[in-house]
């Protein structure tokens, strides 16, 4: 029996089910090429805004031990114009451009910037837990979500994913608004709002104070959200959060994800091995369980 690692996330076909999460090594097309060559089925870029952003002063990304990370980078990114220039020559890597902003027009104007770039899709970051006025603020307002998704969809000629996270309001309302507005898929979840205090310095470890928790600690929270979305909506999901091994990836698929994003996992091992190791593990598991396609496994643990 031949099993295939191909994954289908709604309109998006991926040769392999593992995808680089947004904000992780996410601004250099050379790195994208390297990771794609090393097994990533697609690459989600750092979230791009209309204008460049320097982000916050350090510390912005701090490991917490136990495979956890906290970050508040302040959405540093080169801006849509510069980033479009950087990826213009790409022909081989399936790049999903992550977009962030606070008004629908920003999204449509950014999509226009990427006109002519060879990209595989967009991911709308509705859920960055530590930057005022963008991210979660948007995700917390279903009406705005709806307008942002609609603006992006109407400008874009490639699939559009909406990325959700645990915010102040019910993230399932955000999912619902995004679907109604035409999103082709949902990415779940972003980091979880957290605060790590250094007891010797008696202040937060991040310059921004509050940041987003990622990595192993949020794995079962991500499984929960993916399962909830999968059972309540008919929409393809890219699962994200706490995947560090192939077992975690399989668990997210069994919970309802059609593909799996890896973020903090890149900090645990060699960028040249992480995707391949997870892919190989998934393939061996499928072989052992007699599963022929990733699709067959999606949501199977909820049956």
């Amino acid at each position: 029996m031949e099993s295939s690692l191909e994954a289908q996330v709604g309109p998006l076909r991926l040769e392999r089910p593992t995808v680089l999460a947004s904000g992780i090594l996410g601004i250099s097309v050379e790195i994208f090429g390297r990771l794609h060559g090393a097994g990533a089925g697609a690459i989600v870029s750092k979230s791009i805004s209309v204008e460049p952003r320097d982000g916050y002063p350090g510390p912005t990304v701090v490991p917490l031990g136990g495979g956890g990370w906290i970050n508040a980078v302040g959405l540093s990114n080169p801006g849509a114009a510069a980033f479009a220039g950087m990826i213009r020559d790409n022909r081989t890597v399936p790049i999903i451009v992550s977009l962030v902003g606070s008004a629908p027009e920003e999204f449509s104007s950014m999509v226009e910037r990427f006109e002519g770039c060879h990209i595989a899709g967009y991911e709308i970051n509705l859920s960055c837990p530590h930057v005022d006025d963008v991210g979660l603020e948007v995700g917390d307002d279903p009406e705005l979500v709806s307008r942002v998704v609609r603006a992006t969809k109407s400008a874009a000629s490639v699939p559009v994913f909406a990325k959700v996270g645990l915010g102040r309001s019910d993230y399932l309302d955000t999912v619902s608004a995004a679907i109604d507005a035409g999103a082709d898929g949902i990415t779940a979840i972003n980091t979880v709002q957290a605060l790590a205090i250094d007891i010797e310095a008696q202040r937060p470890k991040l310059s921004n104070g509050i940041g987003g928790l990622s990595g192993i600690p949020i794995g079962t929270i991500a499984q929960r959200c993916v399962a909830q979305i999968h059972s309540q909506f008919d929409i393809p999901i890219m699962g994200c959060g706490g995947v560090s091994t192939w077992e975690d990836a399989v668990a997210l698929v069994l919970a309802g994800a059609s593909a799996v994003q890896l973020g903090s996992a890149l900090g645990y091992g060699s960028p040249d091995r992480v995707f391949a190791d997870v892919n190989d593990g998934i393939a061996r598991y499928m072989e052992r369980k007699g599963v022929r396609s990733v699709r067959e496994m999606v949501g199977r643990a909820l049956a």
Partner: protein, 266 residues
Amino acid sequence: MHETSHIVQVTSVRDETATVHTLEFDDSTMAAALPGQFAMVWVPGIGEIPMSVMVADGGRAAFTVRRHGEATTGLYNLGPGEMMGVRGPYGNSFDIRAGRLLLVGGGTGLVPLMRLISRAPPDADITLVMGARTRPEVFFADTARALLRPRPHCIVVCTDDGSYGRPGLATDAAADELSGGAFDAVYACGPEIMMYKVMRLAQDAGVFAQASVERIMKCGTGICGSCCMGRELVCGDGTVFEAGRLLANPDFGVRYRTKSGEVAYY
């Protein structure tokens, strides 16, 4: 899996120049850093920046910092008893060869080279080229002499303005050394243009060479991408790279990324 930062206390501060301080502290993790490895150093309330780990006596560790912008000034200003957070050490390290070694450093780029000297095999014959712009900016001369004393060595201090030692650029001195004798390895750390020239010189001379590269480093651990240089992640694949790999990199010596990730040119 990376552990989180921990707080250490500065035990003593040494003036190197009017703008350069060496801060010593007790910390076994940092004391064990390999030459070329760096730490992410947090000055609470001010910032966090990458710093090479400097040598220090008796199981202690140190950083040598040049006062520059906000974060380095904050670090520079720390006094004995004050706290800083450290995490790491991160990155790879110099592949220290035996035989005749040429070390070329400028400014705080000398920090990893000092550590390299302290870890070199006892019979390695070390030529150290130290570059500075002017006489008052020369530092580590005594430290280098003390570290090199027990072994065959040669120290060449150059100043751009000729106010001390050999007049001219460190790269000129390095070129002379390379043409004058057969070296087994060349190690460089300092301004990127300088390192670029040294790597070319070494490659032309057919000598094994490595340089330690600096970039914006936000995480130090291979996840944020701020340190990318072409296909390389400087924090994890480096900071130390071999000459061939560096010279093949489209960015090395040419361009870098700013804090936003935009491309800027040297």
